[in-house]
Symmetry: C2
Subunit: 231 residues, 2 copies
Amino acid sequence: MPPIKMKNAAKPARRSTEDGEAASKPRPQTRIQREKQDIILDAALGVFSVHGFRGATIDQIADAAGMSKPNLLYYFPRKEEIHKQLITKMLATWLAPLREMDETGDPIPEIRSYIRRKLEMARDFPRESRLFANEMLQGAPRIYDILAGELRELVDDKADVLLRWMDEGKISRADPYHLIFSIWATTQHYADFDVQVRAVLGKDRGGDGRFEDAARFLETLFMTGLSPKKA
Amino acid sequence: MPPIKMKNAAKPARRSTEDGEAASKPRPQTRIQREKQDIILDAALGVFSVHGFRGATIDQIADAAGMSKPNLLYYFPRKEEIHKQLITKMLATWLAPLREMDETGDPIPEIRSYIRRKLEMARDFPRESRLFANEMLQGAPRIYDILAGELRELVDDKADVLLRWMDEGKISRADPYHLIFSIWATTQHYADFDVQVRAVLGKDRGGDGRFEDAARFLETLFMTGLSPKKA
DNA sequence: AACGTTTTTTTCCAACTGGTCAAATTTCTG
DNA sequence: CAGAAATTTGACCAGTTGGAAAAAAACGTT
């Protein structure tokens, strides 16, 4: 006579779904749980960033994470849960540089270093950039609220700072919102359209140096534009 | 006793698969065929541009085209066929503006009008832009050859033109490849990241005027940059 | 070693996927 | 209008997909 098993003991404390409210006991979360979750998130980032939410399959992710599908589902009971967690984590990282733009600093260096940081992120976290891009292309169904809320407030805030700098004559007058857009666009381009950039630059110029070339170019573009300086 | 039918008469002349070689007779192609194919391509553009190749389903496309799946498959026997045709058509449209940049023209107006045209395309053909973006994010598996071939040659060509203009002192010196990238990035941003642009600009500023604002801003950016002109 | 707990694997399923096939219907041409 | 060709539909299929359930294995504690 086999011993009586309790059906499906305690599932790992998943704080993923924001728990509604007062979760009686948060459940400690073991070391293995954290490790595996990290592995899964990393694998999922690779898959989601390439194929988008719909195009990605749990099998692909499980495969990339080196575990079976049911095993993966033990840690993240739904596909959406993984995606949501990735998006949340990514957004925080993604907006950090803009937050750091300091209104008490020197305008030109501040902008310059914002551009540099964004470009570094495109270089160091291309998958995060593509995950975000994919979400945008689909109409941001899962993060629209954040865009229209938190993000908008942040941009409004920084746009004000930029306007003030313009009023003080520290930088030339231009639409601050579109200025921010143009920084986003030019830098993220090197992550999102990386294949194209490499293909066009070719083997010789498309190597590791391309980010430095880009940095130099963007410096020129944003600082002085294309009009030739008349001697 | 039902009359004997010939099994599956003549399928519509599909020149899609490039027919190997000497296709005996191209088959005229009826009016209905052209119409339906257009409807399908239009519907497919909408679906592929949002979900990417993997994420899009034939059912979705058939639905959007207002016909049954087998009916759609009658015109395009494979999903890939539809996608390939869309990509090909789109690439031609997409590169036209760059082709039109005239080396015998006045440099500054030429660049200015290239930017304007690209921005108009982002406004008028956002789905095409997103289709392209989706393909890029996935690593361009279906068009890499074109990127590294035709596109690269075109860009090399125009980069030479830009360099010449720089040598002549008509525009300031900067990496011509990254200059082209930055024009692509800033203009396509308004198609690919449209949701974000709208969300950040809000109801009032995010309306139809946003493209004019963008045009004005890009004009400033590319012409004079951000450094304040010292009086 | 013996226990409960956590993790993993095996098996399974219903819905969806891209695609086929033959029959039914519509359209075109004389 | 008849007959052939073109178009559309309905039934179907094998493979994939997200996910459930339960048993098996591994782990941690005493």
